[in-house]
Assembly symmetry: C2
Amino acid sequence: MSKVYAVGIGPGGEEFFTQEAKAALERADVIAGYTVYVDLVRDMFPGKEFFTTPMKQEIERCRWAIETACSGKTVAVVCSGDAGVYGMAGLMIELADQYDDVEIEVVAGVTAANSGAAVLGAPLGHDFCLISLSDLLTPWELIEKRLHCASEADFAICLYNPRSKKRADYLQKACNIMMEHKSPDTICGWVKNIGREGQEYNIVKLSELENEPVDMFTTVFIGSATTKVIAGRMVTPRGYEKHEDSYFRGNI
Amino acid sequence: MSKVYAVGIGPGGEEFFTQEAKAALERADVIAGYTVYVDLVRDMFPGKEFFTTPMKQEIERCRWAIETACSGKTVAVVCSGDAGVYGMAGLMIELADQYDDVEIEVVAGVTAANSGAAVLGAPLGHDFCLISLSDLLTPWELIEKRLHCASEADFAICLYNPRSKKRADYLQKACNIMMEHKSPDTICGWVKNIGREGQEYNIVKLSELENEPVDMFTTVFIGSATTKVIAGRMVTPRGYEKHEDSYFRGNI
């Protein structure tokens, strides 16, 4: 049985790799992935063979990885963040089913929702939704429906792919939908280039979000009604503070 | 400025630690946390001082950590999964605001949604929601509202704290709500003791989920309408397969 690893490497730097991800890449003969992500790991794994494809060639990339594994090499496909969150893991399992004797092992990583949240504070400390604003593979109507329902139920919301050159007004459209249900004063935040050179972030109100310098390397966080700013950080409380009397058992 | 680290350690074993989490715990003089989680790391960090409190003493634990940091020690509070997802990060930021010159550094980790998903396949490969079924700190009515809206918008849903002895029927209640909007044939999965001794999982239909041996150490996954079982694994497709013609640029 040949094996291909679908490896989530977190936001970029080596410090965000799990030991499991590092071990999988060390075991691999070939590391494949989107050019930008392979470039993040190239220097960490000298002596490996690398195979890169640009964006929109995900199927080609995953087929190549599976066929290369079938020919006897150990292959790892790297994904930024987690391999299972808008990553290659699902596609690899689907494609592997068309071949004999190849198995996909998914190695989880820290997705941008969590690594970005750590930069801002704790914006996802209670129930939350992840929504991608990219309509390349998803009908825009379904994205709108999810924005409506997530806002109506007062979830904190984390947006992936919030804006690109071709989709310059999608974040604005999303903000307008969310403001049908959430207050324009809802606390929001964004983090650009999480854990990489040029990391930037800001905390603003929902009404201000559409004017922020958000791009496709940015992850956006919209709070729930309970989200607040504490000492310059964005926090969605779990609810402990309401229970301090019953929780607190005396000084130590 | 004193510093306290809020460290997500992933599901348990050392292989799931990020390098950043390991480094933070190595830098700490004292490692504090819920007894169960501290026991997971005790052997990895010999020579450290440990401070544990049982469940429901989160405020006490975090205050102790902050006050100990103010007295000059480096303190790390460990959380399973990610420190910001139903973890201690938010509470620590709130409490630290009551003290002078103490800062909370959040170190992200792999939350059970992602580590459990890797065991099952790729159940969270498209938009999803995280909902905790614990009503200890959240009104049950809000949990119900979120289950309704998440199901109505056909999100994949990941449930934390799906069942406990005191809340034996909560998963059943949640399944009934979800089946008002989702087909009873919707693909679901669960993983118990993720990455720890005794890891177990199963893939079933939504109508069968309430009868599965789900407990408080289990993470539950409910698919979207597109979720399927492929070679015994649970996959929520991103949507690439619909675009094979336009994506696939020829054989290599």
